[in-house]
């Protein structure tokens, strides 16, 4: 049973060239006790997809089609006004991309917490504070001190943890983290990842981590979904996807990651540059220009995300999985300038 089920979700943005899809026909499930990593380059639509889970796609964007079913609540895309506010922060905890900078610099953390409680009409504010302290303590922060602090008195890693406290203090069952480690150094990143895993396990959450860093997410996620050009191109259990990437893009992404172990010379940068809303291919496969496996069909028919193996793996590619797995790739058909 999924906590969140995204069904054929399409999100469009208004541009000079009309309404263009930033996310096209996305299917995704977040299950209790499972951390899902959503990986993609900048402009792949991963943050837009995450915001749609809150029904918070900013203008000039709109949810054009599809549903986001939240267990016990219903379709989030149909909620408005007060109901929607209750869900945001209530059932769905969201930690924003720049959460290091999303705190009010003029108020202590504790005051901001009270504001959050009041806006959600929490009757027992004392209990709210107690829960926040408890969460903070379990994340290795000094709860009392943190609640009395202003944001500038906290380090980047501490602010990220405060962001998680805010997301979970109203007993959210779903935790969404947008680029939680991007501005952090390695030591802070490791401790934040550690903490996410810990609160996730303790609270039996359904967690979604959005990131461009496949290495960082692979440390803690259970499932991996890979996004490119507004499409989810592959998903499945993390270990399996990393070991046997069945989509050429996943394969290239893993190969392009700087790693501490393994052969330095085997690593290959991804050729070309990621597409954005206006440059993404309108027909055929969105990845074909940077793909080493592309065949003729790729130029005309867009592959759909379909199950291809037992164990819950899906892929959107015309090329046989065995061909991609064996890795007999040629040079990409056409790669523009390096990005």
């Amino acid at each position: 049973m999924s906590e969140v089920s995204v069904r054929s979700l399409t999100i469009e943005y208004q541009t000079s060239a009309g309404w263009l899809p930033a996310v096209a026909d996305a299917w995704l499930d977040l299950r209790p006790g499972e951390i899902t990593g959503l990986v993609g380059e900048s402009g792949s639509g991963k943050s837009t997809l995450a915001l749609a889970l809150l029904n918070a796609v900013p203008a000039p964007g709109r949810i054009a089609a599809g549903t986001v079913e939240l267990a016990g609540v219903g379709d989030v895309t149909r909620l408005t006004g007060k109901q929607l506010r209750k869900v945001r922060g209530g059932a769905l905890g969201y930690v924003f991309q720049a959460s290091q900078n999303s705190l009010n610099p003029l108020k202590t953390i504790g005051r901001q917490l009270l504001d959050l409680g009041r806006s959600h009409e929490v009757a027992d504010l004392r209990a709210l504070i107690a829960r926040a302290k408890d969460l903070a303590d379990r994340m290795g922060l000094d709860g009392d001190r943190v609640l009395d602090s202003y944001q500038h008195q906290l380090s980047g890693g501490m602010r990220q943890r405060v962001g998680i406290v805010f997301a979970l203090v109203l007993n959210a069952k779903v935790l969404i983290l947008d680029e939680p480690t991007t501005a952090l150094d390695m030591l802070s990143q490791a401790s934040v990842l550690d903490i996410v895993r810990k609160v996730h396990d303790e609270n039996q959450l359904s967690t979604l981590i959005i990131t461009h860093d496949i290495g960082a997410v692979s440390e803690i996620a259970d499932r991996l979904a890979v996004m490119y050009g507004g499409r989810i191109v592959e998903d499945g259990p993390l270990l399996d996807v990393l070991r046997r990437p069945s989509h050429p893009y996943t394969r290239a992404l893993i190969g392009a990651t700087a790693r501490i172990a393994g052969d330095v010379d085997a690593a290959r940068a991804l050729p070309g540059r990621p597409p954005d809303l206006t440059t993404v291919a309108r027909v055929g496969c969105v990845f074909r220009d940077r793909c080493g496996f592309a065949v003729e069909t790729c130029a005309t028919v867009e592959p759909v995300l379909a199950a291809w193996e037992d164990g819950g793996r899906r892929r959107a590619c015309h090329v046989e999985p065995s061909t991609v797995l064996s890795g007999a790739s040629g040079t990409p058909a056409a790669v523009g300038e390096p990005a």
């Binding site: 000079s16 070309g272 540059r273 206006t278 220009d289 056409a334 523009g336 300038e337």
Partner: protein, 299 residues
């Protein structure tokens, strides 16, 4: 293939002539067109006004006449046409404001940029001078100077207003320059060994330009109101036709506040000031886009 063509496709607007960029920015919103039209209208009045109506006709039979086909806005105490007076008077008002704005732009921006970029001793000296300028009250100074100088030409008045009015701009520009100074591209320019002149003119200035332009347009409004105020109060002797003198005459000689006779004589210059302010405020909206390449290309 598609990648290359797509990236090329995105670039044709990258280097447009400045004039075209100006056109696109203004045409984007009707408010900006109206704003620009108002500013141009007044500028034309200021340039051509005194040539059109060299000497105002005096008609003793039609003193404080109401609006008519002959006199669209009525006449004043001497029977002169108010509309003509407004048009002729625009030169003084706008000439003064333009000169003052120019002085503010050059001195304020220049001193602010150098102080903010150089920091240290240069900064201290320049900022002390700025603080000194900021403490000079322009009104009393003008009153004192009017006993010595003849303010019948707009240039002297502009000189005084501008010369005492650039302090705020210098301070604002300096603080912008100080914060820009720490940006990566300025550190890089210094590291490359580019000359200070290059850095200030080509790297810093374009980034501050929208800020300067906006400040400048707003200070133009302030200069207009300041000089009109001076004439209205009568602290500067009248020697020319201008909107401030008209206001003064309407109120203190025509009794516009008590009787409706001189109403149009009073309202005409007032509306001009309001209209000009409106034009400038409407046009302000376009300024950011004119200087910011990112906003400029947004369709």
């Amino acid at each position: 293939m598609a990648v290359t063509t797509a990236t090329l496709g995105a670039s044709p607007r990258a280097r447009r002539p400045a004039l075209l960029a100006f056109r696109t920015a203004v045409l984007r919103k009707p408010g900006r067109v109206v704003g620009l039209a108002i500013i141009v209208l007044f500028a034309l009045m200021a340039v051509a006004g005194p040539w059109l109506y060299g000497r105002l006709e005096i008609d003793p039979d039609a003193v404080y006449a109401p609006p008519s086909a002959k006199h669209w806005l009525g006449t004043d105490f001497a029977g002169s046409d108010v509309l003509q007076e407004i048009i002729v008077g625009a030169r003084y008002v706008l000439g003064t404001a333009a000169l003052a704005a120019l002085i503010t732009a050059v001195l304020g921006t220049g001193i602010g940029l150098v102080a903010g970029y150089r920091r240290g001793f240069t900064d201290s000296v320049l900022m002390r001078i700025t603080d000194f300028i900021l403490t000079i009250p322009a009104f009393p100074l003008l009153i004192v100077l009017s006993t010595v100088w003849d303010f019948s030409s707009p240039w002297l008045m502009g000189l005084v207003l501008g010369g005492t009015g650039w302090g705020g701009m210098a301070r604002a520009v300096r603080s912008q320059a100080l914060s820009l100074r720490e940006r990566g591209f300025l550190e890089a320019a210094r590291g490359l060994g580019l000359s200070t002149r290059h850095i200030i003119v080509k790297e810093l200035l374009p980034n501050i330009a929208p800020y300067v332009a906006m400040h400048l347009l707003l200070s133009t409004i302030a200069f207009v109101t300041a000089e009109v105020g001076l004439f209205f109060l009568g602290v500067v002797p009248f020697s020319t036709t201008n909107w401030g003198v008209m206001l003064n005459q309407a109120v203190f000689s025509g009794g516009a506040l008590e009787s409706p006779d001189a109403l149009f004589y009073l309202l005409a210059p007032l509306s001009c000031i309001v209209l000009l302010t409106l034009g400038i405020v409407l046009f302000l909206d376009a300024v950011d886009e004119l200087f910011n390449p990112r906003l400029r290309e947004r369709a």
